[in-house]
Symmetry: C2
Subunit: 318 residues, 2 copies
Protein backbone atom coordinates (compact mmCIF):
# COMPACT_ATOMS: atom_id res chain seq x y z
CA UNK A 1 0.00 0.00 0.00
CA UNK A 2 1.61 3.28 -1.08
CA UNK A 3 1.70 5.95 1.62
CA UNK A 4 0.38 9.46 1.15
CA UNK A 5 3.03 11.94 -0.04
CA UNK A 6 4.11 14.11 2.89
CA UNK A 7 6.26 16.67 1.12
CA UNK A 8 6.75 18.23 -2.30
CA UNK A 9 4.64 20.71 -4.21
CA UNK A 10 0.87 20.27 -4.37
CA UNK A 11 -1.46 21.68 -7.04
CA UNK A 12 -4.89 22.87 -5.87
CA UNK A 13 -7.44 23.73 -8.57
CA UNK A 14 -10.21 26.00 -7.34
CA UNK A 15 -7.86 26.86 -4.49
CA UNK A 16 -9.19 30.41 -4.17
CA UNK A 17 -12.71 29.13 -3.41
CA UNK A 18 -14.43 28.72 -0.06
CA UNK A 19 -13.33 25.09 0.38
CA UNK A 20 -10.08 25.43 -1.56
CA UNK A 21 -8.70 28.29 0.51
CA UNK A 22 -9.17 26.32 3.75
CA UNK A 23 -7.52 23.31 2.14
CA UNK A 24 -4.60 25.47 0.98
CA UNK A 25 -4.06 26.74 4.53
CA UNK A 26 -4.07 23.15 5.85
CA UNK A 27 -1.61 21.95 3.20
CA UNK A 28 0.70 24.91 3.94
CA UNK A 29 0.68 23.88 7.61
CA UNK A 30 1.82 20.44 6.47
CA UNK A 31 4.87 22.01 4.83
CA UNK A 32 3.90 21.70 1.17
CA UNK A 33 4.60 24.31 -1.46
CA UNK A 34 1.21 25.09 -3.03
CA UNK A 35 0.30 26.07 -6.57
CA UNK A 36 -3.24 27.36 -6.78
CA UNK A 37 -4.92 27.31 -10.18
CA UNK A 38 -8.20 29.24 -10.25
CA UNK A 39 -10.09 31.22 -12.91
CA UNK A 40 -11.77 33.28 -10.16
CA UNK A 41 -15.25 32.47 -11.49
CA UNK A 42 -16.22 31.66 -7.90
CA UNK A 43 -13.01 32.13 -5.90
CA UNK A 44 -11.36 35.28 -4.60
CA UNK A 45 -7.62 35.83 -4.23
CA UNK A 46 -8.17 37.67 -0.93
CA UNK A 47 -9.37 34.38 0.61
CA UNK A 48 -5.96 32.79 0.11
CA UNK A 49 -3.57 32.70 3.05
CA UNK A 50 -0.38 34.65 2.59
CA UNK A 51 2.79 32.54 2.30
CA UNK A 52 6.00 32.55 0.30
CA UNK A 53 5.31 28.86 -0.37
CA UNK A 54 2.08 29.73 -2.19
CA UNK A 55 1.92 30.55 -5.89
CA UNK A 56 -1.33 31.72 -7.42
CA UNK A 57 -1.94 31.17 -11.14
CA UNK A 58 -5.04 32.60 -12.73
CA UNK A 59 -5.89 30.08 -15.41
CA UNK A 60 -8.91 28.30 -16.81
CA UNK A 61 -8.91 24.50 -16.75
CA UNK A 62 -10.50 24.39 -20.17
CA UNK A 63 -7.14 25.64 -21.57
CA UNK A 64 -4.55 23.06 -20.55
CA UNK A 65 -1.60 24.90 -22.09
CA UNK A 66 -2.09 27.67 -19.54
CA UNK A 67 -1.48 25.47 -16.48
CA UNK A 68 0.42 22.33 -17.56
CA UNK A 69 3.73 23.78 -16.26
CA UNK A 70 2.37 24.03 -12.71
CA UNK A 71 2.16 20.23 -12.50
CA UNK A 72 5.92 19.80 -12.86
CA UNK A 73 7.38 17.95 -9.82
CA UNK A 74 4.04 18.04 -7.99
CA UNK A 75 3.37 15.10 -5.65
CA UNK A 76 -0.39 15.50 -5.67
CA UNK A 77 -3.20 17.47 -7.26
CA UNK A 78 -6.38 18.40 -5.42
CA UNK A 79 -8.96 19.12 -8.11
CA UNK A 80 -11.75 21.19 -6.54
CA UNK A 81 -12.57 23.63 -9.35
CA UNK A 82 -16.12 23.47 -10.72
CA UNK A 83 -18.98 25.51 -12.05
CA UNK A 84 -20.32 26.96 -8.78
CA UNK A 85 -23.88 27.54 -10.07
CA UNK A 86 -25.75 24.23 -10.33
CA UNK A 87 -28.94 25.70 -11.73
CA UNK A 88 -27.17 27.38 -14.64
CA UNK A 89 -26.39 23.96 -16.15
CA UNK A 90 -29.98 23.34 -17.21
CA UNK A 91 -30.06 26.53 -19.27
CA UNK A 92 -26.59 25.99 -20.71
CA UNK A 93 -25.82 22.27 -20.92
CA UNK A 94 -22.24 22.89 -22.09
CA UNK A 95 -21.21 24.56 -18.82
CA UNK A 96 -20.92 21.40 -16.73
CA UNK A 97 -19.59 19.35 -19.61
CA UNK A 98 -16.75 21.83 -19.99
CA UNK A 99 -16.15 22.88 -16.38
CA UNK A 100 -16.91 19.44 -14.94
CA UNK A 101 -15.98 16.58 -17.23
CA UNK A 102 -13.63 18.21 -19.75
CA UNK A 103 -11.76 20.30 -17.16
CA UNK A 104 -11.19 17.10 -15.18
CA UNK A 105 -9.88 15.39 -18.30
CA UNK A 106 -7.35 18.20 -18.80
CA UNK A 107 -6.30 18.03 -15.13
CA UNK A 108 -5.84 14.25 -15.40
CA UNK A 109 -3.84 14.59 -18.60
CA UNK A 110 -1.62 17.23 -17.01
CA UNK A 111 -1.11 14.92 -14.01
CA UNK A 112 -0.28 11.96 -16.26
CA UNK A 113 2.21 13.94 -18.34
CA UNK A 114 3.98 15.29 -15.25
CA UNK A 115 3.81 11.86 -13.57
CA UNK A 116 1.92 13.17 -10.52
CA UNK A 117 1.15 10.15 -8.33
CA UNK A 118 -1.98 11.23 -6.50
CA UNK A 119 -5.20 13.01 -7.38
CA UNK A 120 -8.08 14.11 -5.15
CA UNK A 121 -11.41 15.00 -6.71
CA UNK A 122 -14.33 16.83 -5.12
CA UNK A 123 -17.45 15.10 -6.38
CA UNK A 124 -20.95 15.49 -5.07
CA UNK A 125 -23.92 13.62 -3.68
CA UNK A 126 -25.75 14.69 -6.86
CA UNK A 127 -24.15 11.72 -8.64
CA UNK A 128 -26.72 9.56 -6.79
CA UNK A 129 -29.62 11.38 -8.41
CA UNK A 130 -32.89 10.90 -6.50
CA UNK A 131 -31.65 8.03 -4.32
CA UNK A 132 -34.12 5.52 -2.94
CA UNK A 133 -31.94 4.51 0.03
CA UNK A 134 -31.23 6.83 3.01
CA UNK A 135 -28.66 7.29 4.30
CA UNK A 136 -27.16 6.63 0.86
CA UNK A 137 -23.96 4.54 0.91
CA UNK A 138 -21.05 4.79 -1.53
CA UNK A 139 -22.17 1.43 -2.99
CA UNK A 140 -25.54 2.84 -4.09
CA UNK A 141 -26.51 2.37 -7.73
CA UNK A 142 -27.50 2.88 -10.43
CA UNK A 143 -26.00 6.36 -10.53
CA UNK A 144 -28.55 8.44 -12.42
CA UNK A 145 -27.86 12.14 -11.89
CA UNK A 146 -30.82 14.45 -12.48
CA UNK A 147 -28.94 17.60 -13.43
CA UNK A 148 -26.25 18.54 -15.93
CA UNK A 149 -24.08 19.47 -12.92
CA UNK A 150 -24.50 15.93 -11.60
CA UNK A 151 -23.77 14.48 -15.05
CA UNK A 152 -20.57 16.54 -15.20
CA UNK A 153 -19.49 15.26 -11.78
CA UNK A 154 -20.21 11.60 -12.61
CA UNK A 155 -18.43 11.93 -15.95
CA UNK A 156 -15.45 13.34 -14.08
CA UNK A 157 -15.50 10.50 -11.52
CA UNK A 158 -15.49 8.04 -14.41
CA UNK A 159 -12.40 9.67 -15.90
CA UNK A 160 -10.62 9.75 -12.53
CA UNK A 161 -11.24 6.02 -12.13
CA UNK A 162 -10.20 5.25 -15.69
CA UNK A 163 -6.94 7.20 -15.30
CA UNK A 164 -6.19 5.69 -11.89
CA UNK A 165 -6.42 2.16 -13.30
CA UNK A 166 -4.87 2.89 -16.68
CA UNK A 167 -1.89 4.96 -15.56
CA UNK A 168 -1.24 4.06 -11.92
CA UNK A 169 -2.51 7.22 -10.24
CA UNK A 170 -3.88 6.93 -6.68
CA UNK A 171 -7.26 8.66 -6.59
CA UNK A 172 -9.54 9.93 -3.84
CA UNK A 173 -13.11 10.83 -4.80
CA UNK A 174 -15.24 12.66 -2.23
CA UNK A 175 -18.97 12.93 -2.67
CA UNK A 176 -20.00 16.02 -0.77
CA UNK A 177 -23.26 16.79 0.97
CA UNK A 178 -24.10 20.51 0.85
CA UNK A 179 -20.98 22.31 1.98
CA UNK A 180 -21.48 25.62 3.77
CA UNK A 181 -19.20 28.15 5.40
CA UNK A 182 -17.88 31.67 4.99
CA UNK A 183 -16.92 33.11 1.62
CA UNK A 184 -19.52 31.28 -0.45
CA UNK A 185 -21.47 33.10 -3.12
CA UNK A 186 -23.81 30.26 -4.15
CA UNK A 187 -26.15 28.01 -2.22
CA UNK A 188 -29.15 28.33 0.03
CA UNK A 189 -27.73 30.73 2.64
CA UNK A 190 -26.22 33.29 0.22
CA UNK A 191 -29.50 33.09 -1.76
CA UNK A 192 -31.68 33.76 1.30
CA UNK A 193 -29.41 36.56 2.58
CA UNK A 194 -29.44 38.25 -0.81
CA UNK A 195 -33.22 38.02 -1.08
CA UNK A 196 -33.68 39.61 2.37
CA UNK A 197 -31.18 42.33 1.52
CA UNK A 198 -33.26 43.25 -1.51
CA UNK A 199 -36.60 42.97 0.31
CA UNK A 200 -36.42 42.69 4.12
CA UNK A 201 -40.17 42.05 4.38
CA UNK A 202 -40.41 38.84 2.36
CA UNK A 203 -38.39 35.65 1.76
CA UNK A 204 -39.38 33.64 -1.30
CA UNK A 205 -38.50 29.94 -0.95
CA UNK A 206 -38.35 27.69 -4.03
CA UNK A 207 -40.48 24.59 -3.47
CA UNK A 208 -42.72 23.80 -0.51
CA UNK A 209 -39.93 23.85 2.10
CA UNK A 210 -40.08 20.09 2.67
CA UNK A 211 -36.75 19.47 0.92
CA UNK A 212 -34.34 18.13 3.56
CA UNK A 213 -30.60 17.77 3.14
CA UNK A 214 -27.40 17.33 5.06
CA UNK A 215 -25.11 20.36 5.53
CA UNK A 216 -21.42 20.10 6.33
CA UNK A 217 -19.07 22.93 7.32
CA UNK A 218 -16.18 23.77 4.99
CA UNK A 219 -13.54 23.11 7.68
CA UNK A 220 -15.07 19.71 8.47
CA UNK A 221 -15.13 18.93 4.75
CA UNK A 222 -11.41 19.71 4.41
CA UNK A 223 -10.61 17.71 7.54
CA UNK A 224 -12.55 14.74 6.13
CA UNK A 225 -10.73 14.90 2.79
CA UNK A 226 -7.35 14.97 4.52
CA UNK A 227 -8.33 12.02 6.74
CA UNK A 228 -9.25 9.89 3.73
CA UNK A 229 -6.16 11.02 1.84
CA UNK A 230 -3.85 10.08 4.72
CA UNK A 231 -5.44 6.78 5.66
CA UNK A 232 -6.93 5.17 2.53
CA UNK A 233 -4.56 4.23 -0.27
CA UNK A 234 -6.48 1.93 -2.62
CA UNK A 235 -6.06 2.78 -6.30
CA UNK A 236 -9.45 4.54 -6.14
CA UNK A 237 -10.97 5.58 -2.81
CA UNK A 238 -14.57 6.83 -2.74
CA UNK A 239 -16.00 8.53 0.36
CA UNK A 240 -19.21 10.33 1.17
CA UNK A 241 -18.70 13.45 3.30
CA UNK A 242 -21.66 14.82 5.22
CA UNK A 243 -23.38 14.74 8.58
CA UNK A 244 -25.68 12.07 10.03
CA UNK A 245 -28.71 14.38 10.11
CA UNK A 246 -30.58 16.55 7.66
CA UNK A 247 -32.46 19.78 8.01
CA UNK A 248 -35.45 21.02 6.03
CA UNK A 249 -35.44 24.08 3.81
CA UNK A 250 -38.35 25.36 5.92
CA UNK A 251 -36.21 25.22 9.09
CA UNK A 252 -33.35 26.99 7.35
CA UNK A 253 -35.68 29.71 6.07
CA UNK A 254 -37.05 30.24 9.58
CA UNK A 255 -33.53 30.43 11.05
CA UNK A 256 -32.44 33.00 8.45
CA UNK A 257 -35.55 35.10 8.98
CA UNK A 258 -35.07 34.95 12.78
CA UNK A 259 -31.46 36.08 12.38
CA UNK A 260 -32.75 39.07 10.41
CA UNK A 261 -35.12 40.13 13.20
CA UNK A 262 -37.99 37.78 12.46
CA UNK A 263 -40.12 40.24 10.53
CA UNK A 264 -40.01 38.81 7.01
CA UNK A 265 -42.89 36.71 5.69
CA UNK A 266 -41.88 33.37 4.13
CA UNK A 267 -43.55 32.60 0.77
CA UNK A 268 -43.23 29.11 -0.70
CA UNK A 269 -43.46 28.69 -4.47
CA UNK A 270 -44.77 25.14 -3.87
CA UNK A 271 -43.92 21.67 -5.12
CA UNK A 272 -41.49 19.14 -3.66
CA UNK A 273 -38.49 20.42 -5.65
CA UNK A 274 -36.81 23.82 -5.63
CA UNK A 275 -35.90 23.74 -9.33
CA UNK A 276 -35.38 21.38 -12.27
CA UNK A 277 -32.57 19.05 -11.23
CA UNK A 278 -32.94 19.75 -7.51
CA UNK A 279 -32.56 16.61 -5.37
CA UNK A 280 -35.11 17.28 -2.62
CA UNK A 281 -34.06 14.56 -0.17
CA UNK A 282 -30.41 13.93 0.60
CA UNK A 283 -28.66 12.10 3.43
CA UNK A 284 -25.35 10.32 2.95
CA UNK A 285 -24.06 7.29 4.83
CA UNK A 286 -20.71 8.42 6.27
CA UNK A 287 -19.71 5.22 8.07
CA UNK A 288 -16.80 4.61 5.71
CA UNK A 289 -14.96 7.85 6.48
CA UNK A 290 -15.93 7.67 10.17
CA UNK A 291 -14.22 4.29 10.43
CA UNK A 292 -11.00 6.12 9.56
CA UNK A 293 -11.44 8.37 12.60
CA UNK A 294 -13.16 11.42 11.13
CA UNK A 295 -16.34 12.96 12.50
CA UNK A 296 -18.00 16.28 11.67
CA UNK A 297 -17.60 18.85 14.46
CA UNK A 298 -21.28 19.72 14.27
CA UNK A 299 -24.51 18.41 12.78
CA UNK A 300 -26.47 20.04 9.93
CA UNK A 301 -28.46 22.33 12.22
CA UNK A 302 -25.28 23.42 13.98
CA UNK A 303 -23.52 24.02 10.66
CA UNK A 304 -26.43 26.19 9.50
CA UNK A 305 -26.48 28.16 12.79
CA UNK A 306 -22.74 28.76 12.76
CA UNK A 307 -22.75 29.91 9.15
CA UNK A 308 -25.74 32.21 9.61
CA UNK A 309 -23.99 33.85 12.59
CA UNK A 310 -20.79 34.35 10.54
CA UNK A 311 -22.68 35.75 7.59
CA UNK A 312 -24.52 38.22 9.84
CA UNK A 313 -21.17 39.45 11.20
CA UNK A 314 -19.61 39.60 7.68
CA UNK A 315 -22.51 41.61 6.32
CA UNK A 316 -23.18 43.98 9.25
CA UNK A 317 -21.77 47.52 8.85
CA UNK A 318 -18.41 47.92 10.64
CA UNK B 1 -46.42 6.30 -18.38
CA UNK B 2 -45.61 7.40 -21.96
CA UNK B 3 -45.81 4.58 -24.49
CA UNK B 4 -43.03 3.70 -26.89
CA UNK B 5 -43.31 5.46 -30.25
CA UNK B 6 -44.56 3.02 -32.85
CA UNK B 7 -44.15 5.04 -36.01
CA UNK B 8 -42.16 7.95 -37.36
CA UNK B 9 -38.51 8.20 -38.39
CA UNK B 10 -35.82 6.71 -36.15
CA UNK B 11 -32.14 7.71 -36.08
CA UNK B 12 -29.60 4.92 -35.53
CA UNK B 13 -25.99 5.96 -34.86
CA UNK B 14 -23.49 3.23 -35.56
CA UNK B 15 -26.23 1.66 -37.64
CA UNK B 16 -23.79 0.13 -40.13
CA UNK B 17 -22.09 -1.91 -37.36
CA UNK B 18 -22.61 -5.53 -36.40
CA UNK B 19 -25.30 -4.75 -33.80
CA UNK B 20 -26.65 -1.64 -35.54
CA UNK B 21 -27.38 -3.33 -38.84
CA UNK B 22 -29.48 -6.03 -37.13
CA UNK B 23 -31.32 -3.32 -35.19
CA UNK B 24 -31.95 -1.39 -38.40
CA UNK B 25 -33.51 -4.47 -40.01
CA UNK B 26 -35.76 -4.96 -36.98
CA UNK B 27 -36.86 -1.31 -36.95
CA UNK B 28 -37.60 -1.46 -40.68
CA UNK B 29 -39.84 -4.47 -40.05
CA UNK B 30 -41.70 -2.33 -37.51
CA UNK B 31 -42.46 0.19 -40.24
CA UNK B 32 -40.13 3.01 -39.25
CA UNK B 33 -38.18 5.13 -41.70
CA UNK B 34 -34.54 4.83 -40.63
CA UNK B 35 -31.70 7.31 -40.80
CA UNK B 36 -28.36 5.65 -40.18
CA UNK B 37 -25.47 7.86 -39.09
CA UNK B 38 -22.13 6.09 -39.17
CA UNK B 39 -18.52 7.18 -39.79
CA UNK B 40 -17.66 3.64 -40.97
CA UNK B 41 -14.77 3.37 -38.49
CA UNK B 42 -16.14 -0.04 -37.55
CA UNK B 43 -19.28 -0.44 -39.64
CA UNK B 44 -19.74 -1.36 -43.30
CA UNK B 45 -22.47 -0.11 -45.61
CA UNK B 46 -22.81 -3.59 -47.16
CA UNK B 47 -24.17 -4.86 -43.82
CA UNK B 48 -27.20 -2.58 -44.07
CA UNK B 49 -30.46 -4.04 -45.34
CA UNK B 50 -31.72 -2.56 -48.57
CA UNK B 51 -34.90 -0.49 -48.24
CA UNK B 52 -36.35 2.71 -49.67
CA UNK B 53 -37.19 3.67 -46.08
CA UNK B 54 -33.49 3.64 -45.13
CA UNK B 55 -31.20 6.64 -45.52
CA UNK B 56 -27.50 6.28 -44.86
CA UNK B 57 -25.49 9.34 -43.82
CA UNK B 58 -21.76 9.07 -43.48
CA UNK B 59 -20.97 11.48 -40.67
CA UNK B 60 -18.83 11.65 -37.56
CA UNK B 61 -20.60 12.29 -34.26
CA UNK B 62 -17.80 14.58 -33.15
CA UNK B 63 -19.06 17.09 -35.76
CA UNK B 64 -22.67 17.85 -34.83
CA UNK B 65 -23.28 20.20 -37.77
CA UNK B 66 -22.89 17.25 -40.13
CA UNK B 67 -25.83 15.27 -38.71
CA UNK B 68 -28.18 17.64 -36.83
CA UNK B 69 -30.60 17.74 -39.77
CA UNK B 70 -31.17 13.98 -39.59
CA UNK B 71 -32.86 14.39 -36.20
CA UNK B 72 -35.70 16.50 -37.61
CA UNK B 73 -39.10 14.85 -36.91
CA UNK B 74 -37.46 11.71 -35.50
CA UNK B 75 -39.42 9.91 -32.78
CA UNK B 76 -36.42 8.14 -31.29
CA UNK B 77 -32.65 7.90 -31.55
CA UNK B 78 -30.73 4.68 -30.95
CA UNK B 79 -27.17 5.72 -30.13
CA UNK B 80 -24.92 2.71 -30.69
CA UNK B 81 -21.83 4.33 -32.23
CA UNK B 82 -18.59 3.95 -30.25
CA UNK B 83 -14.88 3.45 -30.57
CA UNK B 84 -14.79 -0.27 -31.39
CA UNK B 85 -11.23 -0.86 -30.10
CA UNK B 86 -11.22 -0.89 -26.28
CA UNK B 87 -7.49 -1.37 -25.93
CA UNK B 88 -6.62 1.66 -28.05
CA UNK B 89 -8.04 3.96 -25.37
CA UNK B 90 -5.12 3.36 -23.00
CA UNK B 91 -2.62 4.54 -25.59
CA UNK B 92 -4.75 7.47 -26.71
CA UNK B 93 -6.91 8.67 -23.83
CA UNK B 94 -8.75 11.20 -26.00
CA UNK B 95 -10.34 8.52 -28.20
CA UNK B 96 -13.00 7.41 -25.74
CA UNK B 97 -13.54 10.90 -24.37
CA UNK B 98 -14.35 12.07 -27.90
CA UNK B 99 -16.09 9.00 -29.36
CA UNK B 100 -17.77 8.02 -26.09
CA UNK B 101 -18.66 10.95 -23.89
CA UNK B 102 -18.46 13.92 -26.28
CA UNK B 103 -20.15 12.13 -29.18
CA UNK B 104 -23.00 11.24 -26.81
CA UNK B 105 -23.24 14.87 -25.73
CA UNK B 106 -23.61 15.94 -29.35
CA UNK B 107 -26.26 13.26 -29.98
CA UNK B 108 -28.20 14.38 -26.90
CA UNK B 109 -27.98 18.02 -27.93
CA UNK B 110 -29.22 17.16 -31.42
CA UNK B 111 -32.11 15.20 -29.86
CA UNK B 112 -32.97 18.07 -27.53
CA UNK B 113 -32.92 20.67 -30.31
CA UNK B 114 -35.13 18.52 -32.55
CA UNK B 115 -37.39 17.60 -29.61
CA UNK B 116 -36.85 13.84 -30.05
CA UNK B 117 -38.70 12.15 -27.19
CA UNK B 118 -36.76 8.93 -26.75
CA UNK B 119 -33.11 7.90 -26.67
CA UNK B 120 -31.55 4.46 -26.40
CA UNK B 121 -27.88 4.15 -25.44
CA UNK B 122 -25.63 1.10 -25.74
CA UNK B 123 -23.50 1.11 -22.63
CA UNK B 124 -21.33 -1.69 -21.36
CA UNK B 125 -20.62 -3.91 -18.38
CA UNK B 126 -17.22 -2.17 -18.22
CA UNK B 127 -18.90 0.67 -16.30
CA UNK B 128 -18.88 -1.71 -13.28
CA UNK B 129 -15.09 -1.95 -13.34
CA UNK B 130 -13.79 -5.01 -11.47
CA UNK B 131 -17.07 -5.82 -9.71
CA UNK B 132 -17.04 -7.70 -6.42
CA UNK B 133 -20.56 -9.11 -6.81
CA UNK B 134 -21.49 -11.80 -9.37
CA UNK B 135 -23.82 -11.83 -11.11
CA UNK B 136 -23.56 -8.03 -11.03
CA UNK B 137 -26.95 -6.25 -10.76
CA UNK B 138 -27.81 -2.84 -12.23
CA UNK B 139 -27.80 -1.46 -8.65
CA UNK B 140 -24.11 -2.28 -8.18
CA UNK B 141 -21.84 0.54 -7.03
CA UNK B 142 -19.56 2.33 -6.81
CA UNK B 143 -19.07 2.45 -10.57
CA UNK B 144 -15.30 2.54 -11.03
CA UNK B 145 -14.39 1.73 -14.63
CA UNK B 146 -10.84 0.47 -15.16
CA UNK B 147 -10.36 1.59 -18.77
CA UNK B 148 -10.73 4.81 -20.70
CA UNK B 149 -13.37 3.00 -22.77
CA UNK B 150 -15.30 2.32 -19.57
CA UNK B 151 -14.85 5.92 -18.43
CA UNK B 152 -16.23 7.12 -21.77
CA UNK B 153 -19.27 4.86 -21.42
CA UNK B 154 -20.01 5.93 -17.83
CA UNK B 155 -19.55 9.59 -18.73
CA UNK B 156 -22.05 9.06 -21.55
CA UNK B 157 -24.54 7.30 -19.22
CA UNK B 158 -24.28 10.28 -16.87
CA UNK B 159 -25.12 12.68 -19.69
CA UNK B 160 -28.04 10.55 -20.85
CA UNK B 161 -29.47 10.60 -17.31
CA UNK B 162 -28.88 14.32 -16.91
CA UNK B 163 -30.60 15.09 -20.21
CA UNK B 164 -33.51 12.75 -19.49
CA UNK B 165 -34.27 14.50 -16.22
CA UNK B 166 -33.47 18.02 -17.36
CA UNK B 167 -35.29 18.01 -20.68
CA UNK B 168 -37.94 15.31 -20.47
CA UNK B 169 -36.38 12.68 -22.72
CA UNK B 170 -37.22 9.01 -22.05
CA UNK B 171 -33.94 7.08 -21.92
CA UNK B 172 -32.98 3.41 -22.14
CA UNK B 173 -29.44 2.47 -21.12
CA UNK B 174 -28.26 -1.07 -21.87
CA UNK B 175 -25.13 -2.44 -20.25
CA UNK B 176 -23.87 -5.12 -22.58
CA UNK B 177 -21.93 -8.25 -21.78
CA UNK B 178 -19.56 -9.20 -24.63
CA UNK B 179 -21.63 -9.09 -27.78
CA UNK B 180 -20.62 -11.49 -30.55
CA UNK B 181 -21.95 -12.33 -33.96
CA UNK B 182 -21.16 -12.03 -37.65
CA UNK B 183 -19.57 -8.92 -39.13
CA UNK B 184 -17.48 -7.97 -36.11
CA UNK B 185 -13.88 -6.87 -36.55
CA UNK B 186 -12.93 -6.49 -32.87
CA UNK B 187 -13.12 -8.81 -29.91
CA UNK B 188 -11.82 -12.20 -28.91
CA UNK B 189 -13.06 -14.26 -31.90
CA UNK B 190 -11.84 -11.93 -34.68
CA UNK B 191 -8.52 -11.66 -32.77
CA UNK B 192 -8.08 -15.43 -32.50
CA UNK B 193 -9.12 -16.03 -36.12
CA UNK B 194 -6.69 -13.38 -37.35
CA UNK B 195 -3.82 -14.83 -35.29
CA UNK B 196 -4.43 -18.31 -36.69
CA UNK B 197 -4.65 -16.94 -40.21
CA UNK B 198 -1.21 -15.40 -39.79
CA UNK B 199 0.28 -18.46 -38.05
CA UNK B 200 -1.85 -21.65 -38.16
CA UNK B 201 0.57 -23.47 -35.80
CA UNK B 202 0.26 -21.22 -32.75
CA UNK B 203 -2.41 -19.19 -30.91
CA UNK B 204 -1.11 -16.62 -28.47
CA UNK B 205 -3.61 -15.85 -25.70
CA UNK B 206 -3.25 -12.68 -23.60
CA UNK B 207 -3.33 -13.57 -19.89
CA UNK B 208 -3.46 -17.05 -18.34
CA UNK B 209 -6.78 -18.04 -19.92
CA UNK B 210 -8.66 -17.92 -16.61
CA UNK B 211 -10.59 -14.79 -17.57
CA UNK B 212 -14.26 -15.75 -17.76
CA UNK B 213 -17.04 -13.62 -19.23
CA UNK B 214 -20.56 -13.77 -20.53
CA UNK B 215 -21.14 -13.69 -24.31
CA UNK B 216 -24.40 -12.68 -25.93
CA UNK B 217 -25.35 -12.99 -29.60
CA UNK B 218 -26.01 -9.81 -31.59
CA UNK B 219 -29.57 -10.83 -32.49
CA UNK B 220 -30.36 -11.59 -28.82
CA UNK B 221 -28.88 -8.25 -27.86
CA UNK B 222 -31.14 -6.40 -30.32
CA UNK B 223 -34.15 -8.39 -29.18
CA UNK B 224 -33.37 -7.51 -25.55
CA UNK B 225 -33.04 -3.80 -26.34
CA UNK B 226 -36.38 -3.79 -28.16
CA UNK B 227 -38.05 -5.61 -25.27
CA UNK B 228 -36.87 -3.02 -22.75
CA UNK B 229 -37.76 -0.19 -25.11
CA UNK B 230 -41.30 -1.47 -25.61
CA UNK B 231 -42.08 -2.41 -22.02
CA UNK B 232 -40.19 -0.07 -19.68
CA UNK B 233 -41.03 3.62 -19.81
CA UNK B 234 -39.51 5.20 -16.71
CA UNK B 235 -37.65 8.45 -17.41
CA UNK B 236 -34.40 6.45 -17.30
CA UNK B 237 -34.39 2.67 -17.71
CA UNK B 238 -31.17 0.74 -17.06
CA UNK B 239 -30.82 -2.90 -18.07
CA UNK B 240 -28.00 -5.40 -18.14
CA UNK B 241 -27.99 -7.59 -21.25
CA UNK B 242 -26.08 -10.86 -21.13
CA UNK B 243 -26.45 -14.55 -20.44
CA UNK B 244 -26.65 -16.36 -17.12
CA UNK B 245 -23.38 -18.23 -17.65
CA UNK B 246 -19.80 -17.33 -18.47
CA UNK B 247 -17.09 -19.07 -20.41
CA UNK B 248 -13.32 -18.94 -19.91
CA UNK B 249 -10.87 -17.55 -22.42
CA UNK B 250 -9.13 -20.95 -22.25
CA UNK B 251 -12.32 -22.71 -23.39
CA UNK B 252 -12.81 -20.23 -26.21
CA UNK B 253 -9.21 -20.67 -27.36
CA UNK B 254 -9.66 -24.45 -27.39
CA UNK B 255 -12.90 -24.17 -29.36
CA UNK B 256 -11.29 -21.89 -31.96
CA UNK B 257 -8.26 -24.16 -32.32
CA UNK B 258 -10.53 -27.22 -32.68
CA UNK B 259 -12.54 -25.44 -35.39
CA UNK B 260 -9.25 -24.86 -37.24
CA UNK B 261 -8.35 -28.55 -37.18
CA UNK B 262 -6.91 -28.78 -33.67
CA UNK B 263 -3.25 -28.54 -34.66
CA UNK B 264 -2.28 -25.11 -33.22
CA UNK B 265 -0.44 -24.85 -29.91
CA UNK B 266 -1.97 -22.43 -27.39
CA UNK B 267 0.55 -20.12 -25.69
CA UNK B 268 -0.57 -18.06 -22.70
CA UNK B 269 1.24 -14.80 -21.96
CA UNK B 270 0.31 -15.26 -18.28
CA UNK B 271 -1.29 -13.15 -15.59
CA UNK B 272 -4.96 -12.87 -14.66
CA UNK B 273 -5.68 -10.01 -17.11
CA UNK B 274 -5.41 -9.89 -20.87
CA UNK B 275 -4.33 -6.25 -21.00
CA UNK B 276 -4.37 -3.01 -18.99
CA UNK B 277 -8.03 -2.22 -18.39
CA UNK B 278 -9.24 -5.76 -19.07
CA UNK B 279 -11.99 -6.88 -16.67
CA UNK B 280 -11.11 -10.56 -16.25
CA UNK B 281 -14.31 -11.72 -14.54
CA UNK B 282 -17.70 -10.62 -15.80
CA UNK B 283 -21.21 -11.96 -15.25
CA UNK B 284 -24.27 -9.72 -15.26
CA UNK B 285 -27.53 -10.22 -13.39
CA UNK B 286 -30.20 -10.16 -16.09
CA UNK B 287 -33.28 -10.68 -13.90
CA UNK B 288 -34.60 -7.20 -14.62
CA UNK B 289 -34.88 -7.64 -18.39
CA UNK B 290 -36.01 -11.27 -18.01
CA UNK B 291 -38.94 -10.09 -15.90
CA UNK B 292 -40.10 -8.21 -19.01
CA UNK B 293 -40.23 -11.48 -20.95
CA UNK B 294 -36.84 -11.54 -22.68
CA UNK B 295 -34.43 -14.45 -22.59
CA UNK B 296 -31.29 -15.09 -24.63
CA UNK B 297 -31.77 -17.80 -27.25
CA UNK B 298 -28.52 -19.48 -26.21
CA UNK B 299 -25.96 -19.40 -23.39
CA UNK B 300 -22.39 -18.11 -23.67
CA UNK B 301 -20.96 -21.43 -24.86
CA UNK B 302 -23.70 -21.71 -27.47
CA UNK B 303 -23.14 -18.13 -28.62
CA UNK B 304 -19.42 -18.84 -29.02
CA UNK B 305 -20.06 -22.10 -30.93
CA UNK B 306 -22.57 -20.48 -33.27
CA UNK B 307 -20.31 -17.53 -34.01
CA UNK B 308 -17.24 -19.73 -34.60
CA UNK B 309 -19.24 -21.82 -37.09
CA UNK B 310 -20.41 -18.70 -38.94
CA UNK B 311 -16.93 -17.23 -39.04
CA UNK B 312 -15.53 -20.46 -40.43
CA UNK B 313 -18.13 -20.35 -43.20
CA UNK B 314 -17.54 -16.62 -43.88
CA UNK B 315 -13.80 -17.09 -44.12
CA UNK B 316 -13.60 -20.38 -46.02
CA UNK B 317 -12.89 -20.09 -49.75
CA UNK B 318 -16.08 -20.30 -51.83
Amino acid sequence: MPSAPTSGPVVVTGGAGAIGSILVAALLRRGHAIRVIDNLSGGRVEQLPSSDRLRFVRADLREPATFQAEFQDAVAVWHLAANPDIRLGTEQPRIDLENGTLATFHVLEAARRADVGSLVFSSSSVVYGAARVFPTPEEYGPLLPESMYGAGKLGAEALVSGYAHSYGLTAHIYRFANIIGPGMNHGILPDFFEKLRRDPTRLEVLGDGSQAKSYLRTEDCVDGMLTGFDRAREPVNVFNLGTTDRISVRSIAEKVVAAHGGRARIDYTGGPRGWVGDIPQQLLAIDRIRRLGWNPSTDSAGAIDRTIAEMRRERSPA
